[in-house]
Protein backbone atom coordinates (compact mmCIF):
# COMPACT_ATOMS: atom_id res chain seq x y z
CA UNK A 1 0.00 0.00 0.00
CA UNK A 2 1.61 3.29 -1.09
CA UNK A 3 0.37 6.86 -0.57
CA UNK A 4 -1.26 8.48 -3.60
CA UNK A 5 0.48 11.80 -4.23
CA UNK A 6 -1.36 13.24 -7.23
CA UNK A 7 -4.73 12.96 -9.00
CA UNK A 8 -2.75 12.19 -12.13
CA UNK A 9 -1.60 8.92 -10.54
CA UNK A 10 -5.25 7.85 -10.15
CA UNK A 11 -5.91 8.58 -13.83
CA UNK A 12 -2.76 6.72 -14.88
CA UNK A 13 -3.73 3.63 -12.91
CA UNK A 14 -7.25 3.76 -14.36
CA UNK A 15 -5.81 4.09 -17.86
CA UNK A 16 -3.51 1.11 -17.19
CA UNK A 17 -6.52 -1.08 -16.35
CA UNK A 18 -8.39 0.30 -19.33
CA UNK A 19 -5.49 -0.61 -21.61
CA UNK A 20 -6.04 -4.32 -20.98
CA UNK A 21 -9.84 -4.34 -21.09
CA UNK A 22 -12.46 -2.19 -22.75
CA UNK A 23 -14.94 -2.94 -20.01
CA UNK A 24 -13.86 -1.77 -16.57
CA UNK A 25 -15.36 -2.75 -13.22
CA UNK A 26 -15.17 0.05 -10.66
CA UNK A 27 -16.77 1.62 -7.61
CA UNK A 28 -14.38 4.59 -7.66
CA UNK A 29 -16.51 7.61 -8.57
CA UNK A 30 -14.82 10.36 -6.57
CA UNK A 31 -14.34 13.58 -8.49
CA UNK A 32 -11.04 15.40 -8.87
CA UNK A 33 -11.75 17.88 -6.06
CA UNK A 34 -12.54 15.11 -3.61
CA UNK A 35 -9.47 13.09 -4.61
CA UNK A 36 -7.31 16.20 -4.18
CA UNK A 37 -8.68 16.74 -0.67
CA UNK A 38 -7.90 13.12 0.28
CA UNK A 39 -4.36 13.50 -1.09
CA UNK A 40 -3.89 16.73 0.88
CA UNK A 41 -4.99 14.91 4.04
CA UNK A 42 -2.61 12.04 3.24
CA UNK A 43 -5.52 9.60 3.52
CA UNK A 44 -5.46 7.97 0.06
CA UNK A 45 -3.38 4.88 -0.68
CA UNK A 46 -2.99 2.52 -3.63
CA UNK A 47 -2.05 -1.08 -4.27
CA UNK A 48 -1.98 -3.10 -7.46
CA UNK A 49 -2.98 -6.75 -7.28
CA UNK A 50 -3.04 -8.72 -10.49
CA UNK A 51 -4.32 -6.33 -13.13
CA UNK A 52 -6.56 -4.46 -10.70
CA UNK A 53 -5.91 -1.17 -8.95
CA UNK A 54 -7.19 -0.83 -5.40
CA UNK A 55 -7.53 2.50 -3.63
CA UNK A 56 -7.77 2.76 0.16
CA UNK A 57 -9.09 5.84 1.94
CA UNK A 58 -8.24 6.01 5.65
CA UNK A 59 -11.19 6.84 7.89
CA UNK A 60 -11.00 6.53 11.69
CA UNK A 61 -9.99 2.90 12.37
CA UNK A 62 -10.63 1.51 8.88
CA UNK A 63 -10.21 2.01 5.14
CA UNK A 64 -12.84 2.57 2.44
CA UNK A 65 -11.87 0.24 -0.39
CA UNK A 66 -12.34 1.18 -4.06
CA UNK A 67 -11.31 -0.79 -7.11
CA UNK A 68 -10.69 -0.44 -10.81
CA UNK A 69 -10.54 -3.87 -12.40
CA UNK A 70 -10.48 -5.22 -15.94
CA UNK A 71 -12.81 -8.07 -15.03
CA UNK A 72 -14.82 -9.55 -12.20
CA UNK A 73 -12.43 -12.53 -12.11
CA UNK A 74 -9.42 -10.28 -11.60
CA UNK A 75 -11.37 -8.28 -9.01
CA UNK A 76 -12.19 -11.48 -7.14
CA UNK A 77 -8.52 -12.48 -7.04
CA UNK A 78 -7.55 -9.11 -5.62
CA UNK A 79 -10.32 -9.13 -3.03
CA UNK A 80 -9.35 -12.62 -1.88
CA UNK A 81 -5.80 -11.37 -1.33
CA UNK A 82 -7.08 -8.38 0.65
CA UNK A 83 -9.75 -10.09 2.75
CA UNK A 84 -7.31 -11.58 5.26
CA UNK A 85 -5.39 -8.37 5.89
CA UNK A 86 -5.32 -7.09 9.47
CA UNK A 87 -6.77 -3.73 8.41
CA UNK A 88 -10.54 -3.29 8.51
CA UNK A 89 -11.70 -2.74 4.93
CA UNK A 90 -15.17 -1.70 3.81
CA UNK A 91 -16.49 -1.32 0.28
CA UNK A 92 -19.64 0.41 -0.97
CA UNK A 93 -21.30 -1.14 -4.02
CA UNK A 94 -24.24 0.78 -5.46
CA UNK A 95 -26.54 -1.24 -7.68
CA UNK A 96 -30.06 -1.21 -8.98
CA UNK A 97 -32.10 -2.97 -6.35
CA UNK A 98 -33.86 -5.36 -8.68
CA UNK A 99 -31.03 -5.93 -11.15
CA UNK A 100 -28.72 -8.91 -11.37
CA UNK A 101 -25.59 -7.91 -9.52
CA UNK A 102 -22.70 -10.31 -10.12
CA UNK A 103 -20.23 -7.98 -8.44
CA UNK A 104 -21.99 -8.60 -5.11
CA UNK A 105 -21.41 -12.33 -5.56
CA UNK A 106 -17.74 -11.69 -6.28
CA UNK A 107 -17.33 -9.88 -2.96
CA UNK A 108 -19.27 -12.55 -1.08
CA UNK A 109 -17.13 -15.33 -2.58
CA UNK A 110 -13.83 -13.52 -1.95
CA UNK A 111 -13.84 -13.34 1.83
CA UNK A 112 -15.95 -10.22 2.29
CA UNK A 113 -19.22 -10.13 4.22
CA UNK A 114 -22.31 -7.98 3.87
CA UNK A 115 -22.19 -5.46 6.70
CA UNK A 116 -25.44 -3.64 5.98
CA UNK A 117 -27.09 -1.79 3.13
CA UNK A 118 -28.50 1.63 2.47
CA UNK A 119 -31.55 2.36 0.37
CA UNK A 120 -32.09 5.59 -1.52
CA UNK A 121 -35.29 7.50 -0.90
CA UNK A 122 -36.52 10.20 -3.26
CA UNK A 123 -39.16 12.85 -3.24
CA UNK A 124 -40.20 14.84 -6.29
CA UNK A 125 -41.55 18.33 -5.86
CA UNK A 126 -41.10 20.74 -3.00
CA UNK A 127 -43.47 20.54 -0.04
CA UNK A 128 -43.51 24.34 0.06
CA UNK A 129 -42.88 26.51 3.06
CA UNK A 130 -41.49 29.91 3.73
CA UNK A 131 -38.61 31.53 1.99
CA UNK A 132 -36.70 32.76 5.01
CA UNK A 133 -33.52 31.44 6.55
CA UNK A 134 -33.47 29.62 9.88
CA UNK A 135 -35.84 31.04 12.48
CA UNK A 136 -36.93 30.31 16.02
CA UNK A 137 -34.48 27.99 17.74
CA UNK A 138 -33.12 26.57 14.48
CA UNK A 139 -29.82 28.15 13.42
CA UNK A 140 -27.00 27.58 10.99
CA UNK A 141 -24.04 25.89 12.65
CA UNK A 142 -20.96 28.01 13.32
CA UNK A 143 -17.32 27.00 12.85
CA UNK A 144 -16.99 26.55 16.62
CA UNK A 145 -19.67 23.82 16.46
CA UNK A 146 -17.62 21.53 14.19
CA UNK A 147 -16.06 19.46 16.98
CA UNK A 148 -19.37 19.00 18.80
CA UNK A 149 -21.11 18.02 15.57
CA UNK A 150 -18.44 15.43 14.85
CA UNK A 151 -18.88 13.96 18.33
CA UNK A 152 -22.65 13.70 17.84
CA UNK A 153 -22.30 12.05 14.44
CA UNK A 154 -19.58 9.67 15.61
CA UNK A 155 -21.66 8.62 18.61
CA UNK A 156 -24.97 8.18 16.83
CA UNK A 157 -24.20 7.07 13.28
CA UNK A 158 -22.58 3.91 11.98
CA UNK A 159 -19.07 4.80 10.88
CA UNK A 160 -18.71 1.80 8.56
CA UNK A 161 -21.99 2.32 6.74
CA UNK A 162 -22.82 6.01 6.97
CA UNK A 163 -19.56 7.76 6.03
CA UNK A 164 -19.17 10.18 8.93
CA UNK A 165 -17.46 13.38 7.76
CA UNK A 166 -14.23 14.47 9.42
CA UNK A 167 -14.13 17.64 11.52
CA UNK A 168 -12.41 19.33 8.57
CA UNK A 169 -15.18 18.28 6.17
CA UNK A 170 -17.78 19.45 8.69
CA UNK A 171 -16.04 22.83 8.94
CA UNK A 172 -16.14 23.22 5.16
CA UNK A 173 -19.86 22.38 5.07
CA UNK A 174 -20.58 24.74 7.96
CA UNK A 175 -18.99 27.48 5.85
CA UNK A 176 -21.37 26.53 3.03
CA UNK A 177 -24.38 26.74 5.40
CA UNK A 178 -25.13 23.03 5.12
CA UNK A 179 -25.67 22.36 8.83
CA UNK A 180 -28.73 23.40 10.83
CA UNK A 181 -28.76 23.01 14.60
CA UNK A 182 -31.10 23.22 17.55
CA UNK A 183 -29.43 23.66 20.95
CA UNK A 184 -31.04 22.76 24.25
CA UNK A 185 -29.53 22.69 27.72
CA UNK A 186 -26.07 23.30 26.28
CA UNK A 187 -26.25 20.27 23.99
CA UNK A 188 -27.02 19.72 20.33
CA UNK A 189 -30.65 18.63 20.52
CA UNK A 190 -30.89 18.01 16.79
CA UNK A 191 -29.23 18.68 13.48
CA UNK A 192 -29.73 18.53 9.76
CA UNK A 193 -26.87 18.17 7.28
CA UNK A 194 -27.80 18.80 3.67
CA UNK A 195 -26.39 19.68 0.28
CA UNK A 196 -28.29 21.67 -2.30
CA UNK A 197 -27.02 21.34 -5.87
CA UNK A 198 -29.16 23.19 -8.39
CA UNK A 199 -32.54 21.48 -8.47
CA UNK A 200 -31.55 18.55 -6.25
CA UNK A 201 -31.35 18.63 -2.47
CA UNK A 202 -29.57 15.81 -0.66
CA UNK A 203 -30.49 15.33 3.00
CA UNK A 204 -27.29 13.81 4.31
CA UNK A 205 -28.26 13.48 7.97
CA UNK A 206 -31.23 14.25 10.18
CA UNK A 207 -30.74 13.58 13.87
CA UNK A 208 -32.57 14.33 17.11
CA UNK A 209 -30.99 13.45 20.44
CA UNK A 210 -33.20 10.85 22.16
CA UNK A 211 -33.43 13.15 25.22
CA UNK A 212 -35.25 15.75 23.12
CA UNK A 213 -37.50 13.57 21.01
CA UNK A 214 -41.23 14.30 21.15
CA UNK A 215 -40.55 18.06 21.31
CA UNK A 216 -40.92 18.74 17.56
CA UNK A 217 -37.18 19.41 17.26
CA UNK A 218 -36.95 17.12 14.24
CA UNK A 219 -39.97 18.57 12.48
CA UNK A 220 -38.73 22.16 12.96
CA UNK A 221 -35.36 21.19 11.52
CA UNK A 222 -36.94 19.45 8.56
CA UNK A 223 -39.30 22.36 7.85
CA UNK A 224 -36.32 24.71 7.74
CA UNK A 225 -34.49 22.28 5.51
CA UNK A 226 -37.35 22.19 3.02
CA UNK A 227 -37.66 25.96 3.19
CA UNK A 228 -33.95 26.44 2.44
CA UNK A 229 -34.26 23.90 -0.41
CA UNK A 230 -37.33 25.61 -1.87
CA UNK A 231 -35.74 25.82 -5.35
CA UNK A 232 -35.19 22.06 -5.45
CA UNK A 233 -37.44 19.78 -7.45
CA UNK A 234 -35.89 16.53 -6.32
CA UNK A 235 -35.02 15.47 -2.78
CA UNK A 236 -32.84 12.45 -2.10
CA UNK A 237 -31.37 10.69 0.92
CA UNK A 238 -29.77 7.38 1.85
CA UNK A 239 -30.88 5.48 4.93
CA UNK A 240 -29.92 2.17 6.52
CA UNK A 241 -32.29 -0.50 5.28
CA UNK A 242 -32.57 -1.73 8.86
CA UNK A 243 -33.67 1.67 10.20
CA UNK A 244 -37.43 1.11 9.95
CA UNK A 245 -38.16 4.01 12.28
CA UNK A 246 -36.36 6.56 10.10
CA UNK A 247 -37.74 5.11 6.87
CA UNK A 248 -41.26 5.42 8.29
CA UNK A 249 -40.66 9.08 9.10
CA UNK A 250 -39.30 9.82 5.64
CA UNK A 251 -42.28 8.13 4.00
CA UNK A 252 -44.46 10.41 6.15
CA UNK A 253 -42.66 13.41 4.66
CA UNK A 254 -43.42 12.28 1.13
CA UNK A 255 -40.30 10.32 0.25
CA UNK A 256 -40.56 6.97 -1.47
CA UNK A 257 -38.08 4.14 -1.85
CA UNK A 258 -35.99 4.52 -5.01
CA UNK A 259 -34.43 1.71 -7.05
CA UNK A 260 -30.83 2.05 -5.80
CA UNK A 261 -29.20 0.05 -3.03
CA UNK A 262 -25.75 0.63 -1.53
CA UNK A 263 -24.44 -2.67 -0.17
CA UNK A 264 -21.58 -2.29 2.31
CA UNK A 265 -19.11 -5.13 2.56
CA UNK A 266 -16.53 -5.64 5.31
CA UNK A 267 -13.61 -8.05 5.50
CA UNK A 268 -14.14 -9.00 9.17
CA UNK A 269 -16.89 -11.53 9.70
CA UNK A 270 -17.06 -10.84 13.45
CA UNK A 271 -17.77 -7.16 12.71
CA UNK A 272 -20.87 -7.75 10.65
CA UNK A 273 -23.69 -5.36 11.54
CA UNK A 274 -25.59 -6.37 14.66
CA UNK A 275 -22.93 -8.75 15.91
Amino acid sequence: MIPVESPRFVLERTDAVKSVSRSVETNFYAGKDVVESWIREGSLFHEEIGLSSFFFRKDADFFHLSYVSPSLADLGGGLAALAGRPEILTADIVTKTAAETPVLDVFAKSGFHVYNSLVRLCRTGNPGGGDQGPSGDVRFAAAADAGRIHEVLDRNFDRYAEQIPSTGEITVDIGRERFLLVDKDGAIAGLVHFELTGLTSHLRRWFVDPRFRGQQVGSRLLRQYFSLSRKAKRFILWVLRTNDNAIGKYLHYGYSVDDLTDTIFINKENMRYGR
Partner: protein, 77 residues
Protein backbone atom coordinates in the same frame (compact mmCIF):
# COMPACT_ATOMS: atom_id res chain seq x y z
CA UNK B 1 -29.46 12.51 -32.09
CA UNK B 2 -30.23 15.35 -29.65
CA UNK B 3 -33.93 14.45 -29.51
CA UNK B 4 -33.07 10.87 -28.67
CA UNK B 5 -30.64 11.96 -25.95
CA UNK B 6 -33.30 14.25 -24.50
CA UNK B 7 -35.76 11.38 -24.49
CA UNK B 8 -33.29 9.15 -22.62
CA UNK B 9 -32.55 11.89 -20.09
CA UNK B 10 -36.26 12.46 -19.49
CA UNK B 11 -36.70 8.73 -18.95
CA UNK B 12 -34.07 8.78 -16.22
CA UNK B 13 -35.15 12.01 -14.53
CA UNK B 14 -38.65 12.88 -15.72
CA UNK B 15 -39.05 15.70 -13.21
CA UNK B 16 -36.50 17.93 -14.98
CA UNK B 17 -36.65 19.94 -18.21
CA UNK B 18 -33.24 19.19 -19.70
CA UNK B 19 -33.88 21.34 -22.76
CA UNK B 20 -33.77 24.43 -20.55
CA UNK B 21 -30.54 23.70 -18.72
CA UNK B 22 -27.05 24.76 -19.75
CA UNK B 23 -25.32 22.47 -17.25
CA UNK B 24 -27.15 19.32 -16.10
CA UNK B 25 -24.61 18.54 -13.38
CA UNK B 26 -24.32 22.03 -11.91
CA UNK B 27 -28.10 22.35 -12.00
CA UNK B 28 -28.40 19.19 -9.92
CA UNK B 29 -30.30 17.28 -12.60
CA UNK B 30 -27.79 14.43 -12.88
CA UNK B 31 -25.73 12.94 -10.08
CA UNK B 32 -23.10 10.22 -10.33
CA UNK B 33 -25.72 7.45 -10.11
CA UNK B 34 -27.83 9.06 -12.83
CA UNK B 35 -24.72 9.26 -14.98
CA UNK B 36 -24.08 5.55 -14.44
CA UNK B 37 -27.69 4.80 -15.51
CA UNK B 38 -27.32 7.13 -18.48
CA UNK B 39 -24.16 5.34 -19.63
CA UNK B 40 -26.04 2.02 -19.64
CA UNK B 41 -28.92 3.53 -21.64
CA UNK B 42 -26.60 5.22 -24.14
CA UNK B 43 -24.51 2.05 -24.58
CA UNK B 44 -27.64 0.04 -25.33
CA UNK B 45 -29.32 2.63 -27.54
CA UNK B 46 -26.25 3.28 -29.70
CA UNK B 47 -24.69 -0.19 -29.46
CA UNK B 48 -21.42 1.20 -28.16
CA UNK B 49 -19.30 0.90 -25.02
CA UNK B 50 -18.44 4.29 -23.58
CA UNK B 51 -14.85 4.38 -22.34
CA UNK B 52 -14.53 4.28 -18.56
CA UNK B 53 -12.10 7.19 -18.61
CA UNK B 54 -14.75 9.26 -20.42
CA UNK B 55 -17.25 8.80 -17.60
CA UNK B 56 -16.59 12.15 -15.95
CA UNK B 57 -19.27 14.75 -15.12
CA UNK B 58 -18.18 17.28 -17.73
CA UNK B 59 -18.96 14.81 -20.53
CA UNK B 60 -22.59 14.69 -19.36
CA UNK B 61 -23.11 18.35 -18.53
CA UNK B 62 -25.02 19.30 -21.71
CA UNK B 63 -26.61 17.87 -24.82
CA UNK B 64 -23.59 18.99 -26.84
CA UNK B 65 -21.16 17.31 -24.46
CA UNK B 66 -23.11 14.04 -24.53
CA UNK B 67 -23.34 14.16 -28.31
CA UNK B 68 -19.56 14.69 -28.59
CA UNK B 69 -19.01 11.80 -26.20
CA UNK B 70 -21.22 9.50 -28.26
CA UNK B 71 -19.52 10.42 -31.51
CA UNK B 72 -16.09 9.90 -29.93
CA UNK B 73 -17.17 6.44 -28.82
CA UNK B 74 -18.42 5.45 -32.25
CA UNK B 75 -22.15 6.18 -32.13
CA UNK B 76 -23.87 6.77 -35.45
CA UNK B 77 -26.18 9.83 -35.51
Amino acid sequence: MEDKILSILSGIRPEFDFARSADFVEDGMLDSFDIAALVVELDETYAISIDGVDIVPENFASLGAIKNLLVKNGAQP
